[in-house]
């Protein structure tokens, strides 16, 4: 599903129509900023001296006031609408930036899931609050965020009930959005060849975006499926450290139990004798068993990897 887009066009013979444009600001650089009348979601930038047009904003918010779902037909209608308002054929404009993602229904709290998505090799991880995480690269970035919270905070009641009636939204459920932000889409998706807006409607291109989203998601290093014990007694400070250590073992390609055992071995006999070491080993083994036993814990199931859910959702989207 397409969301935010930035469209750039060199207006050769086109005469930009200002009838639907509301002036917002002018800059010394020659750029003039407008909004499409009545819609702050869609910004129009025009530079008369070099005859450049830039249209940016979220197409789903512009067209339907939400981004819970946005199908091909709506995409086509929204571009046609802006084209006819500006009297410019935007289908042949360049797609200079865009976001492609999907909202999936998840069982656990998005915040909890996001916490377990750690990093992508070669990308910087940013997280200003627990319900959002961005893996930032130079050509593209991948963002995970709590879409359910966005719906509750951003959308008015009328839109929320429309989502419930027409799109199967349930405010009691959890929703997570996974989206690719393409800063240089021509590099990320098209071997350096520029992408036109019309490409968004070509099935092969759409499939390419889906595959790239899945592959980027797969690249995220996720923590192990750690199950937090329910009883307070099992959650001593030492055990919490053990939990955190076990959780990150796959990220560093180590075996937590082996590392602990070799650490115990390294401790001199004068400090911990054989019996002390055996007792501690037993305690640690018991704890490790506890955090991998679904019957004794809060979280169960297939862990934090959402690949299968995302793949299934993308297959259903057109």
């Amino acid at each position: 599903m397409i969301d935010y887009t930035e469209i750039t066009k060199h207006l050769c013979k086109d005469n930009l129509c200002f009838d639907y444009l509301q002036p917002e600001a002018s800059y010394k650089s020659g750029w003039n900023n407008y909004f499409l009348k009545g819609c702050k979601e869609m910004q129009v930038w025009y530079n008369e001296s070099n005859n450049l047009l830039n249209v940016k904003g979220s197409l789903p918010y512009y067209w339907q006031k939400h981004n819970f779902s946005f199908d091909r037909k709506s995409l086509q209608e929204s571009i046609n609408d802006i084209s006819s308002r500006l009297k410019v054929n935007l289908w042949e404009a360049e797609l200079s930036k865009f976001e492609y993602g999907s909202i999936i229904e998840v069982q656990a709290k998005p915040e909890e899931l996001i916490r377990h998505h750690i990093k992508i090799k070669g990308m910087e991880t940013r997280s200003n609050n627990p319900d959002t995480k961005v893996f930032n690269g130079t050509i593209q970035s991948l963002k995970l965020y709590d879409a359910g919270r966005n719906i509750k905070n951003k959308l008015d009641k009328a839109i929320r009930s429309l989502l419930s009636n027409n799109y199967g939204y349930d405010q009691g459920k959890h929703y997570l959005k996974i989206e690719n932000h393409y800063k240089k889409p021509y590099k990320a998706l098209n071997s350096g060849i520029r992408i036109l807006v019309n490409d968004l409607l070509i099935p092969e291109f759409n499939q390419k975006c889906k595959n790239d989203l899945l592959s980027q998601y797969r690249n995220i290093m996720k923590t192990e499926s750690i199950l937090i014990p329910k009883d307070k007694k099992s959650l001593s400070a030492g055990n919490i450290i053990l939990l955190a250590f076990k959780e990150t073992e796959s990220l560093f390609n180590i075996n937590a139990e082996e590392r602990i055992n070799s650490m115990l071995k390294a401790i001199p006999e004068e400090i911990l004798n054989q019996n002390d070491k055996k007792a501690r080993k037993r305690q640690i083994r018991e704890m490790l068993k506890k955090i991998s036993d679904p019957g004794e814990s809060i979280l169960a199931g297939n862990g934090y990897d959402l690949y299968a859910i995302l793949e299934e959702k993308l297959m259903l989207e057109n």
Binding site: K9, K13, D14, E94, R194, L196
Partner: protein, 159 residues
């Protein structure tokens, strides 16, 4: 069907809107003796979807009408009254084009008959100029022609 084959069957014409009119266009570029120098192009932005003779649902987006002059010579001028009528239909994957159609010409009975030549109509400047692309005999291979022409447009347009 390779790109060279498509290229050799591709004819391109540019028409410019006559000032003071809404539908009358004059030829400004392209080979002479194929299409009339003046054509009428109607835009049908809100035409209803209807069942066409091709047996599937298509949305009509435009219409081209023209008549050859008495002294004109053309491969499309075979019988009186010597007209060209083409209905233009939406191409769902390529809205960048106005649409496509089968070039219809007048037959011996004076009725319009399809030639099987594929016409693709395009305008990038809000109908001040229109370009007409003809692919001779390739109406039924249109699904291979559309991506070819789109690729060509991508290479040519400044964006």
């Amino acid at each position: 069907m390779n790109a060279e084959f498509l290229k050799s069957n591709h004819l391109q014409f540019m028409y410019e809107l006559k000032q003071g009119t809404k539908t009358s266009y004059y030829l400004t570029a392209g080979a002479r003796g194929i299409l009339p120098a003046r054509i009428g192009v109607n835009r049908l932005p809100f035409a209803p979807i209807h069942q066409t003779g091709r047996g599937h649902l298509e949305k009509q987006t435009g219409q081209i009408k023209a008549t050859f002059k008495k002294n004109d010579e053309s491969i499309y001028k075979k019988h009186k009254p010597g007209w060209i009528h083409t209905s233009v239909y939406e191409i769902p994957d390529f809205p960048v084009f106005v649409g496509y159609g089968d070039i219809g010409i007048s037959n011996e009975k004076g009725k319009t008959e399809g030639t099987g030549d594929l016409l693709i109509l395009h305008s990038s400047d809000e109908w001040k100029t229109v370009s007409i692309h003809i692919f001779r005999g390739l109406l039924f291979q249109k699904d291979q022609v559309f991506p070819y022409l789109y690729k060509l447009l991508k290479q040519q347009s400044p964006a």
